[in-house]
């Protein structure tokens, strides 16, 4: 099978056309991250860098094992470590692999004003098409999980693709393949949900009474799910949202406000046209060139 194509789209950003969904017989996929068997080795993180050919900068020690400290345009997945003392006073070291959740109802896609820059395939993967991205950052605001990051060099937004290129040819995502303890699994959403049920039962037998599956309804469920020892309080896992929702502004932007906003855009375009006619086009100044060179100089590793 070739790579995922427009025929596989079920959603497309900023488009009034309904995608053809010719291939909507595809099974929905999911990645299941079992936090209870994760040892925080970062094999997933290095596999992600390898497969996607990403190399961030050698940073600094910042007071935790989170390296880099946050997601960035070259860090699409990140182990986040939390030292948490439970109700018995015993320490638990909660280690969560952070990255795109591939929401069933993706806030990024809803927020995106660039036609086709964000798409959702029939298998559930939410993917960014850099060619169409305008770098506006609306996806960042639209994401309830704070995942996308704008690259300051090429002004495009980046995040985990769930290795859509690998999945399209029948492979599991790179992080799944690299995980030594089987803490990251991949398959159909129904299989992963069923397996999560077994894991939750096992954790309950070990005394984790509140163990459960994280597949939040507020975004229609996700195609990346967690097995959590303490599913009653997701936020202890480095701020995993307890009940993620798409911002009401985004919902509004897609709903009643959309015609108003479009009118605003039209006005701005007209104003811009008039300004251009009267004041002439912007010239590139010397300092702009210098700034650009600096950015590019720092951006050798940019994808």
């Amino acid at each position: 099978m070739a790579g995922l194509q427009s025929q596989d789209y079920i959603r497309r950003s900023a488009s009034t056309l309904t995608p053809p969904s010719i291939r909507n017989h595809e099974a929905e996929v999911a990645k299941l991250i079992d936090v209870s068997r994760c040892i925080g080795c970062k094999a997933c993180q290095s596999a992600c860098m390898e497969w996607n050919d990403l190399r961030g900068e050698v940073g600094h020690f910042e007071g935790s094992y989170d390296n880099p400290l946050d997601l960035d345009p070259s860090t699409w997945t990140l182990m986040r470590f939390t030292e948490w003392e439970n109700d018995k006073g015993d320490l638990e070291w909660l280690i969560r692999k952070d990255g795109c959740m591939h929401c069933e109802d993706p806030g990024c896609l809803k927020a995106c004003p660039a036609p086709g820059a964000i798409v959702q395939y029939a298998n559930g993967i939410v993917d960014f098409n850099s060619d169409a991205c305008i770098g506006c950052g609306y996806c960042v605001k639209g994401c309830p999980f704070d995942i996308p990051r704008i690259n300051p060099v090429d002004h495009k937004s980046y995040k985990c693709t769930l290795c859509s290129d690998r999945v399209a040819v029948g492979l599991e995502p790179a992080c799944v393949k690299a995980c030594p303890t089987g803490a990251i699994m991949f398959g159909s959403k129904s299989d992963m949900t069923a397996w999560a049920g077994e894991r939750v039962a096992e954790l309950k037998s070990r005394g984790f009474a509140d163990a459960g599956l994280y597949d939040p309804a507020g975004v229609g469920g996700t195609h990346v799910m967690y097995v959590l020892q303490h599913a009653d309080r997701p936020s202890i896992y480095a701020g995993l949202p307890d009940s993620p929702q798409i911002s009401p502004f985004i919902q509004g932007w897609k709903g009643v406000l959309k015609p108003v906003a479009l009118a605003g855009l039209a006005l701005a375009a007209i104003a811009g046209f008039l300004h251009s006619m009267i004041a002439g086009p912007n010239e590139v100044q010397a300092e702009d060139e210098a700034k650009g060179r600096r950015l590019l100089g720092e951006g050798d590793e940019a994808p």
Binding site: S36, R37, C38, I39, G40, C41, K42, A43, Q45, S46, M49, E50, R55, G56, E57, V58, G59, H60, F61, E62, G63, S64, Y65, N67, P68, E83, E85, D90, L91, E92, W93, L94, I95, P180, T181, G182, A183, R199, E202, S205, R206
Partner: protein, 809 residues
């Protein structure tokens, strides 16, 4: 490892103590997760720090670095007092009932026979009472007060839960919870596996740490069974191979020992190595020592090793005084007694204790040869890298030769993994630049040296001139040819008593049982015999078929010895030959022979009725709760404090630290006191890096970019140290300036009524590579080793800590 990685999944309880398997062995750790999920196993972690292994453990207990023997002796006391041992196993398979000589004793921290002037023991009293036939006397009823189990009971009596907690700082309830979990594996069909590594070896009592746990395992009947064993997780991909082929200062391949300088003749050497059985009917396999030794000499010297020159015994170096371990080597360098050093695949400036002493030693050399794929710190020791390596090149005359070598993926050969599997691998790429394989380089050095000896004679040319070097390409021998050398072959036609030829001249041997002490066979490493036979390269096998799915995969690669996957597997069956655990049998007696899913670690035809013990390498045939004269510091493990410790030895204040450990005077002078250096430090590695190699790789450098130490919240607050703030850690030997990770994962422990703070020092940073420059952790560590192995005491020493500012970039 006695067992395999995959076998861990068969365990009911997994103990990680003296190691940090999830961080240091993340790939193998998958089998612990299997054990948890498929076998409902409980995972126990005992460690000074709450590690990434602890993050997935069922029970975690803190322990003060260097007090593991107190903990484990406490476990032994608990098991004996509550009578939670596997009785039939202990009675039949250990030396519990053997009677110890009058004269053996233990008082005030010392065993009988101590000689203070030499810091060593006269061990003659550490043995059994013998009968008229030379067999050890036994009391299977365990009534005799001098039988081993009663002496052990007496020895560990002091290690009450209160005492354990007082020494180790482990809360009593956690200790007792763990004891109870251990005891759940005393029933014959239950097993505990012990996973350990440098957290046990890198102490002045390292070997006894491991012995203590091995004794626990014998008492629980967990040696030789599926899901049991003592499993040393090795730290390099081929460090097991290194020890197997004898690259230690007093050893030869296959765990044969280099002669001592007191053993002037071959006959004297062999006199103490005949290993006559100490109980009737025992196998005592080391009786074959001569066959292994002569075959090794034939591999080294070929036709020049003859019966009439005692197989060239005189050409072997003789060990004077313990061996030339690394601590001694650098002591000699500092004293001007060693002035050349060939450093092959080793980075002493990063890896050895008391780094400033290492730098001083290297500075005194005439020449240093570094063979390495990487630009190591050692090869640049003479260069000024700022405070991280403050050398003055103008004052250093050492001539340094850097010989770049290929790395593992750029060469063909075998690697021995922790489970003793020799796995053949194939070259994937050519080495870059001028890099050459180690074989090519060593061949070149050898040929040039031999030529010099030929031309110039020299004091003792025989061992070099007579070395056999029979390879198709003498300047670059093929790894397969070398592997065949290790395996061994018949040198002449070998006939059975009827005169029929059983082995043709030149034929590769099937295994070490074919080796002979008459010069008709050769084998460069007897335990590898069987790895490359006439059937081909057994190490290259890749059939993952796994009978009973018990994690043995007998046709995947080849495991020494004899492709045996579980050592001592005779002990997986009861004395009558039936599996203790019918769900997971390994071998059983089928009425005519021992058979099952593994190669029997036993003579396959000896019936259970002969009562031969399963520990065939021991002359008494049984597992040793009492070690006889095999250990430097005593036949039972005893708690001795690390050489730098904040606490007195509350058991025997006059004998604080290991009385049999060798300590050089200048190293002793460099020990700090707790008055000046009040905190306990321990060094370790992190998942993101492999020792000092991966800081040369960009991805690893991104994942863990910069040096830090770990400090608990309480001490950090006391010292005004903030999260990520700069600190200076100092020992009497040197300093490390880096950032602090203030963590909940290290908590002060109450030791003998006082709080003890632990500071964690990861080891990975240096001054070459892609990661940020750092101070070597071994600036801090003391130069003293285990009394048996001289493995340095990296895991427990004293430091001070204070707030600091960043060093100049």
């Amino acid at each position: 490892m006695t067992n395999t990685w995959q076998d861990i999944k068969n365990a009911n309880v997994v103990l990680v103590m003296g190691g940090n398997a999830a961080e240091a062995h993340p790939c193998g750790f998958k089998w612990v997760i299997h054990a948890k999920i498929e076998n409902h196993a409980k995972l126990i972690v005992v460690d000074p720090r709450f590690t990434r292994t602890a993050a997935v453990a069922d029970v975690y207990a803190p322990i003060r670095p260097g007090t593991d023997i107190a903990f484990l002796n406490g476990v032994i006391r608990y098991l004996l007092e509550k009578d939670l041992i596997q009785h039939e196993y202990v009675r039949a398979y250990t030396n519990a009932g053997l009677i110890v000589k009058q004269g053996y004793g233990f008082q005030d921290g010392l065993f009988s026979g101590y000689k203070e002037d030499t810091r060593s023991y006269d061990k003659t009293s550490w043995d059994y009472e013998l009968d008229g036939q030379g067999y050890a006397k036994v009391d299977d009823t365990w009534q005799d007060p001098r039988c081993v189990i009663n002496l052990l009971r007496q020895h560990v009596d002091r290690y009450t839960p209160q005492m354990v907690s007082r020494i180790c700082g482990t809360p009593q309830d956690k200790f007792l919870e763990i004891c109870a979990l251990f005891a759940t594996t005393a029933p014959p069909d239950k097993a505990l596996t012990s996973l350990f590594a440098l957290g046990w070896t890198q102490h002045s009592v390292g070997a006894q740490n491991i012995r203590a746990m091995a004794m626990v395992q014998l008492l629980l009947g967990n040696i030789g069974v599926a899901g049991g064993g003592m499993n040393a997780l090795r730290g390099h991909s081929n460090i097991q191979g290194l020890t197997d082929v004898g690259l230690l200062s007093a050893q030869m391949p296959g765990y044969l020992l280099l002669p001592k300088d007191s053993e002037l003749t071959y006959q004297q050497y062999m006199a103490t190595r005949q290993y006559k059985p100490l109980r009737p009917g025992q196998v005592s396999y080391w009786q074959n020592y001569g066959k292994f030794f002569v075959s090794l000499q034939k591999a080294i010297y070929g036709a020049a090793a003859r019966a009439d020159n005692d197989w060239a015994y005189d050409w072997l170096p003789k060990v004077d005084g313990g061996g030339y371990d690394i601590i001694r080597a650098f002591e000699m360098m500092n004293n001007g007694q060693m002035n050349g050093y060939i450093c092959q695949g080793f980075n002493p400036l990063q890896a050895f204790p008391d780094r400033n002493k290492i730098r001083r030693g290297l500075s005194k050399l005439k020449y240093l040869v570094v063979m390495d794929p990487l630009d190591t710190e050692t090869s640049r020791f003479w260069e000024n890298f700022g405070p991280q390596n403050p050398s003055d090149p103008a004052k250093i005359q050492t001539e340094v030769f850097q010989l770049p070598t290929s790395c593992f993926a750029e060469e063909t050969g075998s690697l021995v993994n922790s489970a003793r599997w020799l796995q053949w691998h194939w070259k994937a790429a050519d080495p870059p630049g001028e890099a050459q394989t180690d074989i090519w380089i060593m061949s070149g050095i050898f040929h040039r040296m031999r030529e010099l000896y030929r031309k110039e004679g020299g004091a003792f040319p025989d061992p070099i001139l007579n070395l056999t070097w029979d390879y198709t390409n003498p300047t670059d021998p093929d790894p397969e040819e070398l592997a065949k050398d290790m395996n061994g072959r018949a040198l002449v036609d070998i006939k059975d008593p009827s005169g029929a030829v059983t082995l043709h001249a030149g034929q590769l041997l099937d295994g070490f049982s074919q080796l002979r002490d008459d010069g008709m066979t050769t084998s460069g490493c007897w335990i590898f015999s069987g790895s490359f036979t006439e059937k081909g390269n057994q190490m290259a096998r890749r059939d993952a078929t796994d009978p009973r799915e018990q994690g043995l995969a007998p046709n995947w690669a080849w495991s020494w010895p004899a492709n045996r996957r579980v050592m001592y597997n005779r002990a997986s069956a009861d004395p009558a030959g039936k599996a203790w655990n019918p769900q997971k049998p390994i071998i059983e007696w089928n009425g005519s022979k021992w058979a099952g899913i593994d190669v029997p670690d036993f003579v396959p035809t000896i019936p259970p009725s002969d009562a031969a013990g399963p520990f065939i390498m021991n002359a008494e045939g049984s597992g040793r709760l009492f070690a006889r004269d095999q250990m430097a510091e005593g036949p039972f493990p005893e708690h001795y404090e690390p050489f730098e410790s904040p606490s007195p030895n509350v058991l025997h204040p006059k004998v604080k630290s290991n009385p049999a450990a060798r300590v050089f005077a200048d190293d002793r002078a460099a020990f700090g006191s707790s008055a000046d250096y009040p905190y306990v430090a321990t060094t370790y590695r992190l998942t993101e890096h492999f020792h000092f190699w991966t800081k040369h790789a960009l991805i690893n450098a991104v994942l863990q970019p910069e040096q830090f130490i770990e400090i608990g919240e309480v001490l950090a607050k006391e010292k005004g140290i903030g999260q990520g703030g700069w600190v200076k850690v100092s020992s009497k030997r040197g300093i490390v300036v880096c950032k602090a990770y203030v963590t909940k994962r290290i908590k002060p422990m109450q030791v003998d009524g006082k709080p003890v703070h632990v500071i964690g020092v990861p080891i990975h940073w240096g001054f070459t590579g892609q990661a940020r420059k750092g101070y070597g952790a071994n600036n801090l560590t003391p130069s003293v080793g285990d009394a048996n192995t001289q493995t340095p005491e990296f895991k427990a020493f004293l430091v001070n800590i204070e707030k600091a500012s960043a060093p100049p970039a």
